[in-house]
Symmetry: C2
């Protein structure tokens, strides 16, 4: 049935038809996650993707693997945004674009906020290295933006996690109100500016990118 | 078995032992809601409260009635905070205390954020009147704080709902990180100050206290 071109493996070792099939499954997965959250039953995911549960498990042995695959592109976009921010000669512009890019992904792809959080903890060693590097890079960006006098001196790198979790919560509660999301992002960014610094802030929290909770508002035990 | 004093009805028409019993049940309800969310199965609630499901339904015919009773005191505190804010000769101080009070309740009583949201929509006519009055009062407070030059001129009353939903999301994700919650509240309050106003904000969203979603991150169909 497959055309000759479909038999040629691409750089990822998959034939064109296998890649198409995988893309189709992952689009269905994101649609289910958007509707039911990333804790949606695997049976629901399989049904929407038009495959059996056994097939789904064979391709993605764990829910984490499935979540990771479904949002690989969005996670890559976040990583690229951090790289771009560090390369920007204006560190504040880099910082602002980074926050806006991640929040835009959280806003536009409903299942992504939970996936973004789930991507961080309990990862493999490789994930831990990626995570630590992201934290180091972000700390460099923060220092540069502070040195430029744009980012307030009392901004702490953990404030990024606070802002992203708050934004996740807002878009989770109001998935269709993009204006509300943009408004919150604008307020947060203005509050991070040096000129917004008023009374001293209370001490920062303990949360960091490495210690983010696995899901926002997810019920315990929902992940199987 | 009941002592004579327990047979005397109080101002709420309940005898002292009935009031104690009701308080005990509602404390158990809040404990279950804190742990499992306000969508927790009624059977779980009844078991923790030490009553049968039928008894629970007789006292609280709907989940909304149960949620409302469980957090009646917290809702009254929010209402009082708005009254106090309007009575404060310094409208910014009133505004700030109002936001801090509601956020403190959201932070300290885990089930309250969802209950707070659930209290608003689909209410009775009486609730609608309470809600509309709260919105009118808050709009007055906003105008006064703006006239005093403390609150930024482009603050829109709907921004309160945006801030509260974001904060709900944060405390839902990090229920034990009180520092993160205080930090977000401080940032938001500073971003609302007139001196923080930088580039124009994007237009406000459509959300208001009357249009808040019934639950933060709650799965659809979870309320029975």
């Amino acid at each position: 049935m497959a055309a000759e071109s479909s038999r040629i493996a691409g750089p990822d070792g998959l034939r064109a038809d296998a890649r198409r099939n995988r893309r189709r499954i992952l689009a269905a997965v994101r649609a289910v996650f958007a509707e039911h959250g990333i804790d949606a039953p695997m049976a629901t995911v399989a049904r929407r993707a038009g495959v059996g549960v056994a097939t789904l498990y064979r391709r993605f042995p764990t829910r984490d693997a499935l979540v990771r695959a479904a949002y690989a592109e969005q996670m890559a976009t976040c990583g690229q945004a951090l790289t771009d921010a560090l390369a920007d000669p204006d560190p504040w512009r880099g910082f602002r674009r980074l926050v806006e890019t991640v929040c835009e992904l959280q806003r536009e792809e409903r299942g992504f906020p939970a996936a973004f959080l789930a991507a961080f903890p309990d990862g493999t060693r490789a994930d831990a290295a990626v995570r630590e590097r992201a934290e180091r890079d972000f700390a460099v960006l923060v220092r540069r933006a502070q040195a430029a006098g744009a980012l307030r001196a009392d901004f702490h790198p953990t404030d990024l996690a606070v802002a992203l979790l708050a934004h996740c919560g807002l878009v989770g509660a109001l998935p269709d109100d993009r204006a509300a999301s943009r408004r919150l992002v604008a307020y947060l960014l203005q509050s991070f500016r040096a000129e917004a610094a008023g009374e001293p802030l209370p001490p920062p929290g303990a949360v960091s990118l490495s210690s983010l909770p696995t899901a926002v508002g997810g019920s315990p035990g929902g992940r199987t």
